[in-house]
Amino acid sequence: MKDDKRRGLLEKVLKDHGYQESALLEILHGAQEIYGFLDKELLTEIAGVLNLPPSQVYGVATFYSFFKLRKPGEHVVTACLGTACYVKGVEPIIAAIEEEFHLKRGGSTEDGKLSILQTRCIGACAMAPIISIDDVIIGKATKEVVIKHIKQVLGETKAEAV
């Protein structure tokens, strides 16, 4: 993992932030964008470069819900759990996705194709309820539309694989 060109990109992120320990959050953001998630090996590396105790870096990475320490699925569905979305019924949509694709919120399907995550308000409340699928936002979402869209996205990967 360390020898590929992603290592070079990480080096650039570290350098851009002047190897400052106060930029730890920015550096973790950068690392997550490059690698997709933050595993222990990567955190050790960052701790080493910034000269920070590994426990402190791990403590920061686990404090903030935006940082992922496990590999997410190939496609990620994110459900907004903000108040407006809750009031407008995001809960039954999540339940329907869980049932349809056999996975639990916060987790991935067995084949690693799909994950479902929950996020706090993404600030598009007038469009509630909000579900995003791989960064495409579906506003005023309904079960049917969301499930159809997920199936489409999953179908596309199959097509590509063939």
């Binding site: 222990k40 955190l43 590994p54 426990s55 686990t62 404090f63």
Partner: protein, 236 residues
């Protein structure tokens, strides 16, 4: 005296102390004992346990005596029915949070939480208790950590960072899922940065960190922090 001194009143008694002292030390100087758990002389105050909350005239807010600096003319109340009630609730909340069963705890009779709960007449816990069953880590040669007895006072984290200087210990996650970790949440035996100095076991107020096979009476030595700080002054 070179240092600037100031006068304040604690429970009606006038006390003069140097600028920068906390309400807790000012009270101690005149023999007023305020209960504490996360506070430890020699470590940076944490202000987390909320046992040492006191009332300050002129505001309805409560302040942690351990972390609040004195101010000139301040009038502090350390004992009131409300404070007593809230201290009891802090104790009950801590007892309900994880698995605290004194009879089967190594720190029985040498536990600060137990002693303060006794002093405050805590004879029951009004919340339904949450029996945590987290894994005990006894992989280290002699140090053991039982997260089920941890009250997250962070004395161990602070002593490891501030006095031993290696920062092996820290916290992971947040809120009710917070826990003490070694390095990157490794089993203790694999935490390379740990020097096995035992200070964490010495300062733990409860039975969460202890030394296997050693009588807890010998292990517990919370004064070690202040002692080290005092001795270090010689180096400067």
């Amino acid at each position: 005296m070179n240092q600037h001194t100031m006068k304040l009143k604690i429970d009606g008694i006038e006390v003069e102390c140097v600028e920068g002292s906390t309400i807790l030390t000012a009270a101690k100087a005149i023999g007023i004992n305020i209960p504490t758990l996360c506070y430890l002389d020699g470590l940076t105050p944490y202000g987390g346990c909320r046992l040492c909350l006191v009332e300050v005239s002129g505001t309805s807010k409560l302040f942690p005596a351990c972390a609040t600096p004195v101010a000139s003319g301040m009038e502090v109340t350390t004992q009131s029915p409300k404070l007593y009630e809230y201290r009891k609730m802090v104790l009950q909340t801590l007892l309900a949070e994880r698995t605290h069963i004194c009879a089967v705890c190594i720190a029985n009779d040498h536990c600060e939480l137990q002693a303060i709960a006794n002093q405050h007449g805590v004879d029951h816990v009004f919340y339904e208790r949450n029996w945590s069953s987290n894994k005990i880590d006894s992989t280290h040669n002699f140090l053991v950590i039982d997260p089920n007895r941890c009250i997250l006072c962070t004395r161990c984290v602070r002593v490891c960072d501030e006095l031993e200087g290696v920062h092996t210990l820290d916290l992971k996650f947040r809120g009710k899922n917070t826990d003490v970790i070694m390095d990157q949440d490794e089993p203790w035996v694999k935490a390379c940065s740990c020097t096995s100095c035992r200070k964490c076991a010495k300062v733990c107020p409860v039975g969460a960190i202890y030394i296997e096979g050693e009588n807890i009476e010998y292990t517990k030595d919370p004064d070690v922090a202040a002692f080290i700080v005092e001795r270090r002054k010689r180096l400067k």
